[in-house]
Amino acid sequence: MSARAPLSGLRRMVLAAPALWLFLFFLAPFALVLKIALSKPAIAQPPYEPTFSLIEGWQALWDKIGTLSFDTFALVIGDDLYLAAYLSSLRLAAIATLLTLLIAFPLSLAMARAPKHWRTALVMLAIAPFWTSFLIRIYAWIMLLKEEGLINKLLLSLGIISTPLSIFATEGAVLIGIVYSYLPFMILPLYNALERQDPSLLEAASDLGATPLTSFWTITVPLARSGIFAGLLLVFIPAVGEFVIPDLLGGSDTLMIGRTLWNEFFDNRDWPTASAVAIFLLVLLIAPLMNYERQQMKEAVR
Amino acid sequence: MGGAPLLRLARVTKAYGHLVAVRDLSLDIPANEFFALLGPSGCGKTTLMRLIAGFETPDDGRIYLDGQDITDLPPHLRPINMMFQSYALFPHMSVAHNIAFGLKQEGRPHQEITARVEDMLRLVQMSGLGDRRPDQLSGGQRQRVALARALIKRPKLLLLDEPLAALDRKLRHDTQFELMQAQRETGTSFVVVTHDQDEAMVMAHRMAVMRAGAIDQIGAPREVYEEPATRHVAGFVGETNFFEGRVIQYMPGGVEIETGKGLRLEALCREHPAIGSKVTISIRPENLRLSVPGIFSKNGSAGEILDHVFREGLSSFRIKLETGDLVHVRKSVGEGGAQHKRGERVFVSFAPEHARALVK
């Protein structure tokens, strides 16, 4: 029974605690991001101006609001570097997401079709890497991909190649890193969708004369659509803003917007530009984010 | 019996938004009664039960237990217990702890709890299984644990929500008699909520047939079966045949109607419908007579046997009358149920005293 009555005192507190927390530490800060994106960089502490304070009185505050401007936005839009970083982020995230799907789908299907008593263990195994440190997993790939890395060592000693491959510090390495790091996020929703499917559907299809391939495309894939969609969003959205993977596995020419933001912020100490970049990134992700949220809420209702 | 009833519902109403689940309903249940609330899903019987248990508060009206107003008492303070449809056994507690739960809330001494749990385990034939966990029990055993848990506090009233719904057919049959026995032995009033008229007919001393948030009829099962008050009751409790028509004249204790197809039929009637008003005649399948057509006979019509099924000593016939109506007729072998064959032409009729003309 859903209570339509007003919330009691206790319930109000139970709701208020997480709601206030999220409001204060998640939602409200975005207002600040916007404000600072409208400010100018300054050699000061904090490194932007104006800084608002009521100590100087309302009039002073009002004057300062007048100095806010869209200059930084104009700068970010006008600079090809940022545009290139955006496009490159979207491209790399999209390719990596599709690659993740291509690897995760057969794996999830095999898991879902495994004998029942195996499945829990297989799911655990598939998610377990997610619990080990993200940095360690990236570090593992540095070890594998470097010029003097293990893959090159192996291939050279087997005589398959004569000169070491240079994968490290390329976009290829970034793609591998994203696929590897986010694979569990794709497997989980896919597996859930596939495991729910009634195996007798495939038997019915083959009984009606469908080849296994036809059954796959007309039954298995369409019924897994919600899982595919969830997995795509779950990988794509965070991948677009990824910083660690391009920073550690990519080359100096690997442009990704998360890295740009980081550099503006930490290296150039240009907070207004970093904030403007963050706002653009958010705008870019708003549509997929909304989609993801809608899906989560539908799932929660079910 | 005399005195106040054990449970009294006085003009109780409960609505969820625009949906009125229980409408201005009054009901008295005496002590030591096996009472059944019968109705199709959505008729308000579950809401009524939850109102009695205290999980819902009525928008209007009062609820009394032993003359005491309990309308605003929360569920944990009501001397009423309930057996849930899902049984709601606590999965993290053993059978014995499940059964003991109610007594622990009363703060009873440990020894008394142990003794009474043993007693209850014996009553439901589960002695020695107290250490099991609910997920180690069969469906029938779970049902008995749920019953023991609900009875251990010796409630004045026990509510049972579809107590047999989760059991298979064979088990359901045996359990019916176990529930009746438990009611007799404890002297607690049982109120069973069910959508299965068979269950109500077998177990209940009295039953209430509900529809759309209100009670259509209250009475002993046989009375409800033989003297249905409304068309809904007649159709819901047992099988029946309906003939709709308009009253054309009054007969002693009854009426004669003419159906849309021109058939004239007589039946008893408790009310006084106006001449020309619409009524429905209900006639039970076992009260229809089959005879050879051609011989003059009133109160019926000739027809052809479409199907004949023999089951549990009874012959069931589906007959298409000349008027186009389909009727069901049931005959025991002794009544000549075996004589008639599929495709045969017969005359179907009934005695007016066996049929009821219903206004509502």
Binding site: A3, P18, L32, R113, F266, S275, L285 | A88, G102
Partner: protein, 263 residues
Amino acid sequence: MKRGLSPLHLAVLAAGFAFLYVPIALVVIYSFNASRLVTVWGGFSTQWYVSLFANEQLLQAASISLRVALASAALSTVLGTCAAFALQRFGRFPARTLFTGLLYAPLVMPEVIIGLALLLLFVGLGIDRGFWTIVIGHTTLGLCFVAVVVQARLAGFDRSLEEAAQDLGASPARTFRAITLPLIAPAMAAGFLLAFTISLDDFVIASFTSGPGSTTLPMRIYSQVRLGLTPEINAISTLLIGIVGLSLLAATVINRLKAPSVR
């Protein structure tokens, strides 16, 4: 289906899990490498573990990380469980959609954005960054994960269990303690573990929200990784993998032993 695994499925599983596990396994194996060059095998040795425990900075970072993780996981569990109850039990309250949105968004939001926003907040409010600001950052992320895990458990929770307890005379408070809490405890524990691991693992948010003297372990590891491969990183990675692996195993075993179904 009665059939076992087809050879094709088996091959897919083997390849998939090899992809997932071989890189991690290699990190572990090469932590016992005697050679200073990580990718050149120079015989078995545990010397890197010894030098690890002599590394003052690393140990201090590890201790900070552990304390941050414990504090934020505890806070996340309390707040996330509250949020799960609000979502699952409170029906339609004002701004429910906004609340749900706020709860799901951090799960996928790029961490650089969360980190930057939090940092600007702390600067704007004039709060000195340090231990507690990292805890706040990690709790914001962790409480959302806890909420999702606990909410799933609550969604599968048969409400008649609580009604039965009340019907048998337990007050709402007692019902919560005797029935609800024990039955959602496994989910809360799983949520705690998840929040703990996420906090222990996080590098990006910690980088934005930490201050002088509160460098976390991932921050140290990151700066070492940037400098190049060193066997010490392999050693500390192996320890972390071992700890996480053991606690996962323990959690699974505990769950197996006493996870009654709530349906």
